[in-house]
């Protein structure tokens, strides 16, 4: 499957937006202006962008603590996201969710999730809804190596096969569940090995390679849309920042510098599309400038935006009560 130049440029824009957004949140968090816990997705862009490039408006995703990248890739407005991270009334969740709960149900984004393994059961439900309604939609559960050991995830993979659901399970193995290595916490060699136990195909993909992720996800999405059931895709990479902002990362070796230098998904994407003549360097440079402007605007608007009022404390607990 060869992608159009428009699709490639859009995927680059998404990856660049995620990278710049996260680098900027990292910088702004250090000033003390951003409240709460923030978990950054930088380094992992090829996963969200590569998977979501296969999705459309019929499809839904569920995300993780580390959800900013999934949000951007599924079309959530970065300006509203930044305002949410700052806890502002103009935020994607009106300042009541924060970094760990950014959602946009209209975009099929079921939410970042503060509970490890919270998303896969919900994805089964979305996939069931698509199947019963005959929309052709699929649902994708992004989860980390930590959640790959949660019962909810394993139960959901079993249920997805039993119910023959159009679901895709994307295990984003960045090497660490918080500070604990996945080489220690995951009992098998690869998370993808578990797929056989649930009667579905399982593949391991280089998570720094947009094209590899895009191709694997494309096959899984096509199979799911055709009624062929679920797939487990394990995406391997490393995150560029700590588990959360402020993490001193004393548990890590030197893999981040190595990855940034030699494996980085944005560098590899640029090299590949320009050398193949699919896109020109100037086109990518133009995207870089537009994204830089967007992120700058998102931060300035967030800082200037109003905070929620006391009235907002009590609203939207129920539809009616």
């Amino acid at each position: 499957m060869s992608a159009t130049p428009e699709r490639l440029l859009e995927s680059y824009r998404i990856m660049r937006t995620i990278r710049d957004f996260e680098e900027r949140v990292h910088k702004e968090f250090a000033t003390g202006e951003i409240p709460g816990f923030v978990h950054l997705y930088a380094g992992e862009e090829a996963s969200a962008a590569g998977v979501c490039a296969n999705l459309d408006d019929r499809d839904a995703i569920a995300s993780t603590h580390r959800g900013h990248g999934h949000c951007i890739a599924k079309g959530v407005d970065p300006v509203a996201m930044m305002a949410e991270i700052y806890g502002r009334a103009t935020g994607a969740c009106r300042g009541k969710g924060g970094s760990m709960h950014i959602a946009d149900l209209d975009k099929g984004m079921l939410g970042a999730n503060g509970i490890v393994g919270g998303g896969p059961p919900l994805v089964c439900g979305r996939a069931l809804g698509s199947k019963l309604q005959g929309t052709g939609g699929v649902a994708v559960a992004f989860f980390g190596d930590g959640a790959s050991n949660q019962g909810t995830t394993l139960e959901s993979m079993n249920l997805a096969t039993v119910w023959e659901l159009p679901a895709i399970f994307v295990a984003e193995n960045n090497g660490y569940a918080e500070a604990t290595s996945s080489t220690w916490s995951v009992a098998c060699d690869d998370i993808a090995d578990r797929a056989g136990g649930f009667g579905m195909p399982g593949v391991v993909v280089d998570g720094f390679d947009y094209f590899a992720v895009h191709e694997a996800a494309g096959e899984a999405v096509a199979r799911a849309r055709d009624g062929g059931g679920p797939t487990l895709i394990e995406v391997k990479f490393t995150r560029y920042f700590g588990h959360f902002e402020g993490d001193q990362q004393t548990y890590r070796g030197g893999e981040v510098n190595e990855a940034r230098e030699n494996l980085d998904c944005l560098k590899r994407f640029r090299e590949r599309v320009t050398s193949a003549g699919e896109l020109r360097g100037e086109q990518l440079d133009a995207v870089d400038r537009e994204v830089a402007d967007l992120v700058e605007r998102a931060v300035q608007e967030a800082k200037a935006a109003p905070t929620p009022t006391a009235d907002d404390l009590l609203t939207d607990v129920y539809v009616s009560y």
Partner: protein, 337 residues
Amino acid sequence: MARTITMREAINEALSQEMGRDERVIVMGEDNAGGAGSPGDADAWGGVLGVTKGLYHRYPGRVLDTPISESAFIGAAIGAATSGMRPVAELMFIDFMGVCFDQIFNQAAKFRYMFGGKAVTPATIRTMYGGGFRAAAQHSQSLYPIFTHIPGLKVVTPSTPYDAKGLLVTAIRDDDPVIFCEHKALYDITGDVPEDLYTIPLGEAEVVREGGDVTIVTLGRMVHTVLEAAEQLASAGVAADVIDLRTTSPLDEDTILESVEGTGRVVVVDEATPRCGIAADIASLVASKAFGSLQAPVELVTAPHTPVPFSDVLEDLYVPDAQRVVNAAKAVTSWSR
């Protein structure tokens, strides 16, 4: 036209009629279709106590058996609810909330608030509670206070076949997640139930007996125990107002307070354990909002702060009975400074 049917039949009828009326309504749970993949008859069970029996053939594809994976299928009901379905999931015994609670209280209950008012999660979770079956500590609890504690959930505890049908129809049509708690000892009780669809609003208690001497607030199976006690009290010259809460969230404070203002004396009867429960909640409500009316301390009749025992001798001591209610009502009506 009303017929006399069991509570099991009333719940089945509510599910069936709602499925017939609205194709977004689906039913899922362990053995809810009954025997999926097994060599015997399809629809063999219809849930462990047969509440969903017959729906499988009437609504092909919309009654789903599940693996014994409560987290996955309760979560799937919640996820499906966010995509325009109206799922009714059966959590077989309320005691099993422990293996799927995250999906209920961290996911379903919080979506609307946490996502800034943009989520609608019309999932109904039917679940069976209560003692009396000698089913011991992990199949007999009355855990609805835990759900009641959680903002974002609604909690229903019907006491009659009529209420069960009307409240379940309302729960299914409600746009918020609803925990619908069915006492297992009530499935075979009978009552008049209209064949036509009807709804009963959530948050409206019912005064099931009027007296004026004492207010007895109760819910679920205990409504029947309290009515039995009220008969005995009447013979002894004590006339009780009996209030069936019907839902613990929302809670109909007005009906309780109105009665207490008339009687000044209150007994709360609940099969659940006493700490942080419905009885304590009602006592707190009365103390803070009807203090001026009170003429006696509030009496609480609940299970003890213990697990549910197995031995029939012990379980009969555990579940509040009419005599304990009579004693409590006499204590508050005879109390003076």
